[in-house]
């Protein structure tokens, strides 16, 4: 196996996600881009786990997935409550801490 392919793919996916977070404005699309970045990190973790022949990387990938699920739930709840008060899902509109 050539780990170079996998780590470069992980870097490319991470870059796409990061550019997406920087240029998109809708909070839900932002979440999708964050998921892409987390998945790129997971791919790198699983690759390193296979290179080293240990399972630690794969187990960390599980933990990342679970934390990502929790993060999506909380984030969507926040988006919902911002949407309820501001009538908008754009991150540029949420510029006050208290409404």
């Amino acid at each position: 196996m050539e780990p170079g392919y996998y780590v470069v793919l992980a870097a490319v996916l991470f870059t796409i996600g990061a550019v997406g977070v920087l240029i998109r404005r809708n909070a839900i699309v932002l979440f999708m881009c964050i998921e892409l970045m987390l998945n790129a990190g997971n791919l790198a973790l699983v690759t390193f786990s296979r290179i080293n022949g240990t399972l630690d990387g794969q187990i960390m990938a599980f933990f990342v997935m679970v934390v990502a699920a929790a993060e999506v739930v909380i984030g969507l709840a926040i988006i919902m409550s911002i949407f309820r008060t501001r009538r908008s899902a754009s991150v540029d509109d949420a510029n006050l801490l208290k409404y």
Binding site: I16, R24, F31, Q58, F63
Partner: protein, 169 residues
């Protein structure tokens, strides 16, 4: 080139294309559906890496749960289903910063691995992964379950306006 390499390149191309579509499409629902393609091909890549349990958990949690949640949020925020034009900020600063970060990351990783070849050990099945989780990683696992409970309660408290109103009264 072995079969695994060919599969990896094909799945990687699908993943990159779908991820680029998530970032560039003008329709939010389509972005969610492209995300399914990207995450699914990543699950395929985990299979190529013979990390089977990670692949199935990826399908269950990401494709099954996270994307459905995201699509629910799209519907609940009444986002426009058709083409929406105001999705982007000015793009050059973001492209510059993101592209620079990506290039740096790729250079670092390529320098670390130098296109070397590694002999793979046998892949571990669910049994080995389960044993590792419940032996050496059991404390983080338990902490994670507390985190999930906290996220559950927190999401309910945040998203129900009447709860905080009643407490404030």
């Amino acid at each position: 080139m072995t079969t695994a390499d060919v599969l990896m390149l094909a799945l990687g191309a699908v993943a990159v294309g779908a991820a680029a579509a998530v970032v560039t499409t003008r329709q939010i629902v389509r972005a969610g559906l492209w995300l399914v393609v990207a995450l699914g091909s990543l699950a395929g890549l985990y299979l190529v890496l013979s990390a089977e349990l990670v692949a199935w958990v990826q399908v269950l949690i990401y494709v099954g749960a996270v994307v459905v949640l995201l699509l629910f949020a799209v519907m609940l925020t009444r986002a426009p289903i058709g083409v929406s034009e105001d999705l982007d900020r000015s793009r050059w600063p973001g492209l510059l910063i993101g592209g620079g970060a990506g290039l740096g990351l790729a250079a670092l990783l390529i320098d670390a691995y130098q296109w070397s070849t590694v002999d793979l050990a046998d892949g571990a099945g669910a049994e080995e992964v389960g044993a590792a989780i419940f032996r050496s990683w059991v404390l983080p696992f338990e902490v994670l379950s507390v985190l999930l409970l906290a996220a559950l309660v927190g999401a309910i408290v945040i998203s129900r306006p009447d709860v905080s109103a009643r407490v404030g009264r």
